[in-house]
């Protein structure tokens, strides 16, 4: 520490690269190299990413008495109201339906936010992108942090509902943690990919939000898969629905419902494909994003 101190102190920005060498696009080797450097620089700036995400929330609620806990309240009201109406409509028991709906809605709103805000992650940060040299992964990370903070506020609703309804949690509930980790990685990959795509083609965010609307209804978010038993065609909705697998790996451990290895397997396959495509797309578009935003 003492040895490093003089070096660090004056040369404050040592952590940012002191040298850079930029040349015109010269093929995939250079693209992957630069994309990787972007990730590495972004990882060094993790404190910045965290603070930017935190500030987004703080500033949005600055001056409000309850602050970000408005998120908790509005989610609680929404879930409560929906649970009573839909439990009646689906003729299900509110004691089993409310925890299910609460967890599903909150997980879905997180997923939806990761997707839609991931689309806008570069467009939103245009001033910073044009103002200073900054790894692009910072902007994608910022959207992830912001939405994860919102999720953390909504988790309060889940805890309260589970406590009231007496949903038993066991050690296997911890399996939800790797699922959340996978969501974070996927969300980040998606943001890099679609953030660039949406900066280039301004119709894409609209298309994505339309798709997410449909996905909400065809994915078992508000309804449970059991109501599809006997409907062969309708079951295809689930089998070929990537959102179903992603949702299920997070939801099943917490609800104590059985979760097959295959579900996790598919979730990993879907994530693998997403990450692979995102990596290629990010390497390809990285040098152009500054021109597009």
């Amino acid at each position: 520490m003492t040895k490093a101190a003089p070096t660090m102190s004056r040369n404050g920005a040592l952590r940012r690269p002191v040298h850079f060498h930029l040349s015109a696009d010269s093929g995939w080797k250079q693209r992957f190299h630069l994309a990787w450097a972007d990730m590495r620089e972004g990882a060094h700036l993790w404190r910045l990413i965290a603070v930017l995400g935190f500030l987004d929330i703080k500033l949005k609620y600055r001056g409000s008495a309850l602050g970000p806990f408005w998120l908790t309240i509005s989610m609680g009201v929404q879930v409560g109201a929906m649970a009573f109406i839909y439990a009646d409509l689906f003729h299900t028991d509110i004691h089993s339906y409310l925890p299910f709906l609460c967890l599903s809605i909150i997980a879905w709103s997180y997923l939806n936010a990761l997707v839609t805000e991931g689309c806008g992650c570069f467009i939103q940060s245009d001033a910073v992108i044009k103002g200073m040299r900054m790894p692009f992964s910072v902007h994608a990370g910022r959207s992830i942090v912001r939405n994860t903070i919102i999720l953390a506020h909504n988790v309060v609703v889940i805890v309260v509902v589970f406590a009231i309804m007496g949903v038993h949690q066991s050690l296997s509930s911890l399996l939800a943690l790797p699922a959340l980790g996978l969501w974070l990685v996927d969300g980040f990959a998606f943001s890099l990919f679609f953030g660039a795509l949406c900066a280039r083609f301004r119709d894409v965010p609209q298309i994505i939000s339309a798709i997410m609307q449909i996905a909400f209804f065809v994915t078992p978010v508000m309804w449970s898969t059991t109501i599809l038993t006997g409907h062969r065609e309708a079951l295809l909705l689930i089998r070929f629905n990537p959102f179903y697998y992603m949702l299920e790996i997070l939801r099943a451990p917490l609800l104590g419902t059985p979760l097959s290895v295959m579900t996790w397997g598919w979730a990993l396959v879907i994530s693998g494909i997403l990450i692979f495509l995102s990596w290629i797309a990010f390497a390809r578009t990285r040098g152009r994003i500054a021109f597009w935003v």
Binding site: A5, P6, T7, M8, S9, R10, N11, G12, A13, L14, R15, R16, V18, H19, F20, H21, L22, S23, A24, D25, H44, L45, R47, L48, V51, L52, L55, L59, R62, A127, V128, I129, K130, G131, M132, R133, M134, R200, F201, R202, D203, V204, I207, G287, R288, A290, F291, W292
Partner: protein, 277 residues
């Protein structure tokens, strides 16, 4: 250690003697012009379709913002960029700061760099001045103690006093500039890129800013300044690069370039003013 921090560069202490360098070789930037209509997905898909009818797929409009720009700057060089509006000065500054990847040629930068491209850059106008300084510390990747150093330095230099605890959106433009300049130069960069807005500060602050930049340059650093004001350029720079239509029109000693750049009457006046201190 404090004394050591403020007066000497560790690289020199360690005997590394790293000289700053900024070299552009044949840098070109083609700016794709995406109008709100030409950038839509529909147009691109339909464009692909019509490409079958013998049209070039790449016929999107491109503005050649910079063409074949080459120069090399070493420690002690203070380069002024001059040229009419839209000639490519700001784009060149953005390329030099590593924001745009050149579409042709190569750029290499050696040395810690700060770019002051627009006064509000990296500042969140809803945050207070002090919060913005801390945010800047994070942007720079500073440690907690370094950030404290930064806050103190900016406090002293900007002389904003209690305004630092007000949101930046309540600042006058001059105050925003003070803050931006103080933040950018607190940890003296080895390469400083500035756009002309910096000249909007009041006379007292300008004097102070100039002293600071001079100090930096004395310590063998590089300055690149884009401006329209000949007197400012003469004062701050020892080399001028005249850019017109994205190309270098002239490169050399300030007076020599200004002689060609300025209308003759304006140049005579300037020369007279320079001769009589």
């Amino acid at each position: 250690m404090d004394r050591l921090c403020t007066n000497a560069r560790p690289d020199r202490l360690l005997g590394l003697n790293m000289m700053a360098n900024l070299t552009a070789s044949n840098v070109s930037i083609g700016f794709p012009l995406y109008h709100s209509d030409s950038r839509s997905l529909k147009k691109t898909i339909l464009g692909q379709a019509s490409a079958r009818f013998g049209r070039d797929n790449n016929n999107r409009p491109v503005v050649q913002a910079l063409h074949d720009i080459s120069f090399s700057l070493n420690s002690g060089d203070r380069l002024g960029l001059i040229g009419s509006n839209g000639s490519g000065k700001t784009t060149l500054l953005r390329v030099l700061s590593g924001i745009y990847q050149p579409t042709g040629g190569t750029l290499s930068a050696k040395g810690r760099m700060t770019a002051l491209l627009d006064p509000g850059q990296g500042m969140n106008h809803q945050l207070t001045g002090r919060e913005n300084i801390r945010l800047r510390g994070l942007y720079l990747g500073l440690s907690v103690s370094q950030t404290q150093e930064l806050v103190k330095d900016v406090e002293d230099f900007s002389e904003l006093g209690h305004f630092l605890d007000l949101p930046v959106r309540n600042y006058s433009s001059g105050m925003t500039i003070r803050l931006a300049f103080a933040m950018a130069t607190a940890f003296p960069p080895e390469i400083l890129l500035m756009d002309e807005w910096i000249l909007a500060g009041d006379a007292v602050f300008m004097e102070k800013a100039k002293k600071r930049v001079e100090g930096m340059v004395r310590h063998a650093d590089i300055l690149v300044l884009a401006s329209h004001s000949p007197s400012i350029l003469l004062e701050w720079c020892n080399r001028l690069l005249w850019i017109e239509n994205g190309q270098i029109r002239g490169d050399g000693a300030p007076m020599r370039i200004l002689e060609h750049y300025l209308p003759s009457s304006a140049f005579k006046e300037l020369a007279k003013a320079e001769a009589a201190p």
